[in-house]
Symmetry: D3
Subunit: 67 residues, 6 copies
């Protein structure tokens, strides 16, 4: 019954990549802790770049500066 | 001051049902732990079906398969 | 597959009360959203009173002041 | 490497205010715990008012009532 | 800068297994989304079995029943 | 009614420092968003260093290596 939450910034992952993340995390928990995939829950939060801060500034500001 | 977070997949709950969940959780905490409803916070996260995985696949894929 | 997280301050709930919270939340989701109890996950976080702040002070400080 | 999550109701903060929250939290962790801003992560969740409950009702209902 | 949180019940993972989970999740995010391991944060919450509910009962009760 | 969660590694903050974090975050939300301190909730999670990963390794391993 593990529960895994992945937070990434928005527009970074396609549906296919999100499927790979879900598959990969579920397999990892099965391999390492013998967890049953049928009860392994994975959720992905996609956070707007205005709403994600690193080094005291938003990712929006950081990417604008780095352009 | 309890804080409760409910995660469900998107488009599953109407505003009325969400109001029932908020009311129900608040009453439960008042009944069981004598918590003051005025400081009981409940948030509901509605997660896209691409972003919710169970049994190694997304809910989108699972529902498509089951149709 | 709902996932519910309940945060309360530490030493507030006995095992019996926690069982009532788990039962109550699961029944609520079954009643309101017809969710399957078998895949409804509930976790309870018990937070130390030094680590819970309200109105700018910790619960420890608040309770000491109110004694 | 602190990780801070701020939950507020939707449409309450402009990009500029969110930038101030990110800056403020990062500075606070640097000042109080000497944390490196470069590895301090802050995320802001903006929750719909239907999805935020206080005192057993949603913020939507509360604000409608108070108008 | 992804942030991943893994919740498992307590006493299920040794330090070595937790290290494998951290390594595995970080590699997965590097492989799938080309994320920089240096800024990928993984936290593991170990939840007491009284505090984890599935199918309306705590894991403690469930395991006692299944013994 | 903002809800703020701060995750730091264990044994990094004294009760006094945690009180400063609670005070600081509450004041920040009052200053920036005019939020009422009386309904601003702050929780601090202290995570064991085995349970916090950065750059694919646990903080325990990283600190041992850096000694």
């Amino acid at each position: 019954m593990p529960y895994v939450n992945i937070k990434i910034t928005q527009d970074e992952a396609t549906p296919e990549q999100k499927a790979l993340l879900i598959r990969g995390v579920t397999d990892l928990l099965a391999d390492v802790l013998d967890k049953n995939p049928a009860t392994t829950v994975v959720t992905i939060d996609e956070v707007e770049t205005d709403n994600w801060g690193i080094n005291g500034e938003s990712v929006t500001a950081r990417r604008t500066r780095e352009r």
